[in-house]
Symmetry: C2
Subunit: 276 residues, 2 copies
């Protein structure tokens, strides 16, 4: 076999590891791929680890045991995460984003894959240690960020459907009723039975939380499946009401105030981000 | 400034380039980041190019002119794209996927970020040269693959909502009626006005096409915005009806046959993939 240079191995290693976050690769796998000794690959991995550290590009984790190896976690550097969230907050504070009824226009931010990817990475980093088996969201605007979260956690992303009967191409579903905390209206949510197994662990991700009704609906849905909810994360939560239907959740951004009459909107990064 | 080793530069370059596909980076940008001469960075880029080529990890493209530089395109190697699509087709051919009414259960495949990412990359690679300004999809199951497509094209991903009035947090919308070609039912589709600018170029991406009604609806919607549609791509299209409401589209997979009574389902990779 042709000898592969270190430069080349480092480059290929970084591409392969970073495009499959949170997936364990054995040293043997790379050893075979590059025709190099495991000790050489181990040195390569150390170099890769240093590069990630130096440029704040994420972390390498070593997993010991029979199924051991190395994996890549795209944990954003603290300063980068905060700078990004600050930038998003600033952008969302524009008065022309105030919509009739005191809603905030976020469509452009939630349409940009680069932003969504950063949001997904920061949220996922809070829940790695909780080992979710899948990410659950409720259609529609939470889907992109839930997808990016699931990508870096290396787990499936499952979508609960809103206000529908059984989805035609989904087979048997479980349907629950829930109450939107802000509008007080009764809604329904459905989830295909075969997508979720009992005893699994779910991470709930959504774009926005006001009263927490939708998140609470997803938590209730998970009870029907005998699934443990290991975390709730949202892109933005309103400061008020302070008491939401869900106790523990992480939001990236807080909508402190929105006042249509005074053309005033205030968005800030969540407090926990400063201690991230 | 501390001298940065080539290993390190190659590693960081690959991480930075691959996590921002289709985005132009100038040599000066890297030259400053690493404190190295542009000629050195240029040599690094050549090494990166060779690594991508050797391991089938995508392509580097040089952009000339004042705004010139290099960019990364995650164009999947032909054999990898075909192997992946074949694997998906095989997986989808299981008789226990047949749902009442002759629908095919694809929920698990469309929930897996790794699969969605590959699908998005293969579809995007067909439309790079068409320079779309955004990717358009219609909720819900097309959102993940449209998102991944938009990510590698480095453009926004915009979601048309189905059967709704004005979305509360979206401001003014345009609503059109369209007819589902398979069910012959009248449906409505809405899109926020401020998300799309007239004169832009749209790539339409969806999960499934039978009669082509939804895709046709999106094309009609784009006419309302004076937007040019530069392509239509779907994960799966049915073989029948052969004549769909949309003429030119690319599908990754073809649903050749599905027969509930005989427990028969046949899915194959689209013919164009073999000449990819």
């Amino acid at each position: 076999m042709e000898k592969v240079k270190r430069n080349e191995r480092i480059g290929a290693l970084i591409k392969i590891l970073t495009e499959a976050p949170n997936r364990i690769f054995t040293l043997s796998y790379f050893s075979e791929m590059f025709g190099a000794a495991k000790s050489t690959i181990s040195e390569d991995i150390d170099i890769v680890r240093d590069i990630f550290k130096k440029y704040g590009l994420g972390e390498m984790e070593t997993v010991t045991g029979a199924a051991g190896g190395v994996k890549y976690l795209p944990v954003p550097a603290r300063d980068k995460a905060l700078a990004f969230t600050n930038e998003m907050a600033l952008r969302l504070c524009a008065p022309d984003r105030i919509l009739p009824g005191g809603y905030l226009y976020m469509g452009d931010v939630l349409s940009t894959p680069g932003h969504i990817e950063r949001m997904g990475e920061i949220l996922a980093a809070q829940f790695y240690r909780n080992s979710p088996d899948f990410v659950l969201t409720c259609e529609t605007m939470g889907v992109p960020v839930a997808m990016m979260c699931a990508r870096v956690l290396n787990v499936p992303m499952i979508i609960a459907r809103r206000n529908r009967g059984a989805g035609v191409a989904e087979g048997s579903v479980i349907t629950i009723n829930y109450v939107s905390a802000s509008s007080k209206r009764l809604q329904t949510m459905t989830l295909p039975k075969r997508l979720v197994g009992s005893g699994q662990r779910a991470l709930i991700i959504d774009d926005f939380m006001k009263g927490g009704g939708t998140a609470k609906g997803m938590i209730d849905m998970m009870k029907e499946f005998a699934v443990t909810v290991v975390g709730v994360g949202v892109v933005m939560a309103t400061a008020l009401p302070q008491h939401k239907l869900v106790d523990n959740y992480k939001s990236l951004l807080v909508l402190d105030e929105i006042d249509e009459a005074r053309s005033l909107v205030k968005v800030s990064p969540a407090a926990w981000l400063t201690n991230f």
